[in-house]
Subunit: 409 residues, 4 copies
Amino acid sequence: MNAKDLTGQTIALAASGGLDTCTITHWLTQQGVKVVAITGDLGQPDETDFGAIEKRMRACGAVDFVGIPLQKELAELGMEGVQAQTCYESRYWLTTPYGRQVTALGIFAEMKKRGLKIFSHGCTGRGNDQVRFHLAANMLEPDFEVYAPWRDGDFLEKFGGRIQMIEYCEKNNLPIKASREKPYSTDANLLGLTHEAGKLESLLTPAHFVTPEMGVWAEQAPDKTEACSVRFEKGLPVAINGKPVDTLKAMTLANEIGGRNGIGIGLHMVENRFVGVKSRGVYEAPGMELLGSAYAFLLQLVIDRRARELFASLSDHISKQLYQGYWNDLATRMSRKAVAEITRLATGTISVSLYKGNVSFAGAEDVPHSLFSKDGSMEAEGSFDHKDSEGFLGVLGVHGRILARAGQV
Amino acid sequence: MNAKDLTGQTIALAASGGLDTCTITHWLTQQGVKVVAITGDLGQPDETDFGAIEKRMRACGAVDFVGIPLQKELAELGMEGVQAQTCYESRYWLTTPYGRQVTALGIFAEMKKRGLKIFSHGCTGRGNDQVRFHLAANMLEPDFEVYAPWRDGDFLEKFGGRIQMIEYCEKNNLPIKASREKPYSTDANLLGLTHEAGKLESLLTPAHFVTPEMGVWAEQAPDKTEACSVRFEKGLPVAINGKPVDTLKAMTLANEIGGRNGIGIGLHMVENRFVGVKSRGVYEAPGMELLGSAYAFLLQLVIDRRARELFASLSDHISKQLYQGYWNDLATRMSRKAVAEITRLATGTISVSLYKGNVSFAGAEDVPHSLFSKDGSMEAEGSFDHKDSEGFLGVLGVHGRILARAGQV
Amino acid sequence: MNAKDLTGQTIALAASGGLDTCTITHWLTQQGVKVVAITGDLGQPDETDFGAIEKRMRACGAVDFVGIPLQKELAELGMEGVQAQTCYESRYWLTTPYGRQVTALGIFAEMKKRGLKIFSHGCTGRGNDQVRFHLAANMLEPDFEVYAPWRDGDFLEKFGGRIQMIEYCEKNNLPIKASREKPYSTDANLLGLTHEAGKLESLLTPAHFVTPEMGVWAEQAPDKTEACSVRFEKGLPVAINGKPVDTLKAMTLANEIGGRNGIGIGLHMVENRFVGVKSRGVYEAPGMELLGSAYAFLLQLVIDRRARELFASLSDHISKQLYQGYWNDLATRMSRKAVAEITRLATGTISVSLYKGNVSFAGAEDVPHSLFSKDGSMEAEGSFDHKDSEGFLGVLGVHGRILARAGQV
Amino acid sequence: MNAKDLTGQTIALAASGGLDTCTITHWLTQQGVKVVAITGDLGQPDETDFGAIEKRMRACGAVDFVGIPLQKELAELGMEGVQAQTCYESRYWLTTPYGRQVTALGIFAEMKKRGLKIFSHGCTGRGNDQVRFHLAANMLEPDFEVYAPWRDGDFLEKFGGRIQMIEYCEKNNLPIKASREKPYSTDANLLGLTHEAGKLESLLTPAHFVTPEMGVWAEQAPDKTEACSVRFEKGLPVAINGKPVDTLKAMTLANEIGGRNGIGIGLHMVENRFVGVKSRGVYEAPGMELLGSAYAFLLQLVIDRRARELFASLSDHISKQLYQGYWNDLATRMSRKAVAEITRLATGTISVSLYKGNVSFAGAEDVPHSLFSKDGSMEAEGSFDHKDSEGFLGVLGVHGRILARAGQV
């Protein structure tokens, strides 16, 4: 789809008020497209002042602006990520994809209220976010059309990259804050923050090149251990350090506590994008890392070997589905339902000690479904009969010897 | 099998020279069993002085003693663990199970030389090590018998636990070093060290209760960043900090470098034993953690999404097989062959910076099979055509809308 | 546990009234154990006449007899097997394990009513059924004890096998029906029938050695095609050939229709028992095969590639869990919840034609969640834009070429 | 890429000599493109007479024609499919994808000899075959370009479907054999045959609507059982019915024997194409089904539970990779190496009896690596100690009770 097909129509644009969406709004308006700019408040540092964003977007030509509060929704989805331990390729807490899902839902609801049917966004044509928005739209609102300037030949001809956009905005006196010198780009919400592109595209640039925004590098963290406890009930954090919290509060508090101790700050990763190319990122997610570590300690007590194996594969599955934009399909729903069976057992208080990037186990209490028992003790306690092992191994050994005698070893 | 069935026979005993094997050797000798004590040198701190161990074992009644050098074999197997990223339940580098395999192979070879057919060990009847030794024997030497005192009713009746053994040794003037006060037990080899039992069986005991032996807690590590680079060729470390190494040297050097910076020190875990009970451990593996982290950064560059997914599941598979004692069966062989296809691509130099328990990516060079390329760049470079994404998403979107229209979302 | 520990106590014995349970009842009674014989009606050909069984069991010494109707429960569980397509090692419909679960539940409920706490069964010490009963008891009623004569040294000493039991029963005038000549043993319920042991233990014995009991071999089936249609609603069969059915009726009708056409009759399999040895069976399950095939045709229309992949692995998972006796644990519950998400989409009418062992697709109608659409047509219809494939392949191709240029192909 | 970009250049066209490739050749020639038509002999019924095809292609304007014998290569690849039991979505033997790989390799070699760099094919823009050819080219010959008329807007504008091509050919007097009435389309090679499109796109059309070409429907097969034995050595068939064969001969003989008994004939399937839409096919693969069934019986004897589980997942993996065109990547290579470990154990003679579509096990002999042994016998033979099960279950039961007492059941 091209901008020229849209002349005279009204579209909804997912807008952060940054360089991209300012440029797009102005350029589309020039082509006769009416742009309703919509911003979700995901708790990102720079994008929660709806008044300022509205001002900028209207200055760029937007016919209307809508700000949608989404922090609670995002925290709750992020907490489900903690429960499912969703780390893409074992590392990335998927903070941006969760944000995209929440944003899409919020914007689509607004669009339906207003009768809008064309959804537009500023994601590039090489990344994953375009896929997430596109599939969310196709699955949730199959009658919507999606228009992406970064896949529009006319737009691409004019704007090859960041530099051309800055020049365009300067020429048109658009109120952008971007500077020419920014050495990499950043995407943020309350769950986490990703740095990529720019100088980070060189593998000679160390992870430490990045300046953390949600906390500090371990080197800058205090040289003393901070104790922290989290009380989970049925998978949800209900108290931190004994103080009652709801999920949003838990996430913001965990961000603070984790961030100041360098937890989950500055994780380097070269990941496989859905479109088949590698991408390098440096990630921050102090709250998810802190809550996720505590939750992992709890899971170790609560799920047995068989459930753990299945959980591990479902966790990978959900992570991949979310990363690739398939959050809303049947397969994801199946995995989420399976994981929910575990979540309802996840009650307990986990204590950890935090020190310069390290989360160390400090204790577990009040875990009603714990499987940890005296039966595993090496001393003579519990119901486990050492002699039973003779039979156990006798049974296993028959198989071992059959293998050997069949020439299979 | 009971000791009384062995009277007059000669058996091989896997002996560390510690409390257990001293007690067992003396008790068996008293029953008329001839014990050949065999110790493998796995680089464990206390068990490499063959002279001292021999003296202790003979004092306990052993008719002979054999010391077998196994450090090189163990380092090489451990390095295969790095290549396959074998972490049981995502955390434990499986340092003890690798040790058991190497020990079993070494002892079985010695037994065949001497015509011995009864293999004995001091592993308890609730743990995993008995299974590893038992299955290794059944698969590799199906004509051997395995005798385990901790599954022998007569032995169990006399020795309920540590305390009774110490009393027995004291009464019989056996040269043990164990003290009654040791608050937990430790198993060590050059790959790593595990602490368990004793006070660690309480979940109120923090991980920090343990005193590290292969390095220091992050709190005690130097307050400055140490740079480290590892050159891998076809999966093997050939230089560290520019200095050529073989695999054994790489592992010992990595232990030193990692250990002094608190890398891989003091990891708490409640794991699922094969026999179905939970067990709590605190682990050290500084070298494997350091080499393993560097290797993981290399793999990120070299394997694509499809290979990565398969690798992740094979890595879990090998870990589980090894943990459960199935290292020598067909299934493990299959997975190892598959992983070897990746290993031959794993060439490159990875730089990391180490700081108080943290391993941070600092650079990658000379990676001939790297898939990281300009095609993923967000700027207008590389062969990736942004407009192709329009078609790509068009194709994906057909499916998305079909789902929606079939009422599946 | 040995019989002598039970003298004077009352136990519940899962009893079919066959050779094994007659022998066990009499032998236990002789040792002073009071046996309450309990039989579940699972629709097995020989075991539904409670009056006759009661007479036999009392003649053997049972102090009481209980018959429990379980056909409905079994049919419903079997139907869940159809929905999850649970075939152990891709072949066996797991008819016996489903029977064991239903029997265990029925008997445990009766035991609790009567205050009995010792559960006994006649399963041998090499098979899977002992594991299923044992784990069901341990998980569902952890305070019950399980006594299995075939693991009791005293019993084993007296009864090495079938022959000794027959002699014992003849000597004691017990009313058994077994003959010395039976060339294999059979276990049956309304879901299916398994033949094993005896002459079947030779791999030179063809599958056709067996005489089917739930239908006929393809060779004996009519030489004409029979049409059959099944209407499923949310995963349940609600009509067969247009005639309304409940689940039990569907299963029995499908047994008849399938059986007479040789469907699912006489499947040979050498399977891996949980205890690590191979076992050879010849199986019959005409109803599950017929309903299962029709259901598979329906699933082909309803689930997309991603859901299908997950379903396939969950189906294998459930099959293995059930086979190994872990039906009641968390992992199984997780998989069942995931599969239930699919089941609620499984509505449609599937027509098949049956001919001498073959089930051929004959049509599908009224499938509201079908994903089969004009978009896959090779002709110029539907919403799929052929040209989009250019972009789709452009995107995929970037990756393909990166692989090639990195020397990875 | 469009035809107009190719004017004056010489391209290689994968040509079967059918309606599509005749049309394409003529149309491209008219645009000034020089077409070298290349046909692989894959043993397909209509496409092995190189003389006739050459005549047709030259009549359509081809500047040259090359016929490449590929039957041996295809049979060998197909046999690897038997070894890995590659059935897409559990049903389809992937006969066409194997053919595409072999064809691509043959044509690319010829192109390199001639210095050609543009590869063209007549696969449509909604199917899987375009992906297979495209990715094979990108991975194996990254410097080649791929031109696909069915993704060329100019071509699509002129030729919407089959009817327009026939009219075009008739108008231009091209020597096509296609008739307007063909009710579905067919793709064939010596491994198998697929029917799709046309009337098959209605789900009201039964599978029996198709006329088999590699054998007969079960209804038309002889009313008597045919015995057949296959001797495998290290995974390869070396004798059928006692008569020595090489792999190609084995495949053709198995096609004959299987085909005349209705084995693997007329399998209906609605499958998930890579591009995300459903596609309905009716498949024939009598030789692969016959050899595959015999091989499956052999595998049942040779691989243990752990290897079987891994094999099952690798088999699915290879099937999916092949189906989606990723045959040549690292992940496929990993899986193939793993499966090769099993293949070298696959020696034995399997007898089956064939009757109207049914393959029944009739015996197994000379299987040196068989794991089937007396240890599984229900009678008192073998090394399995029934009493060991008491310990085995004691160990398992501890876990069962822990679950129960933790409120997890």
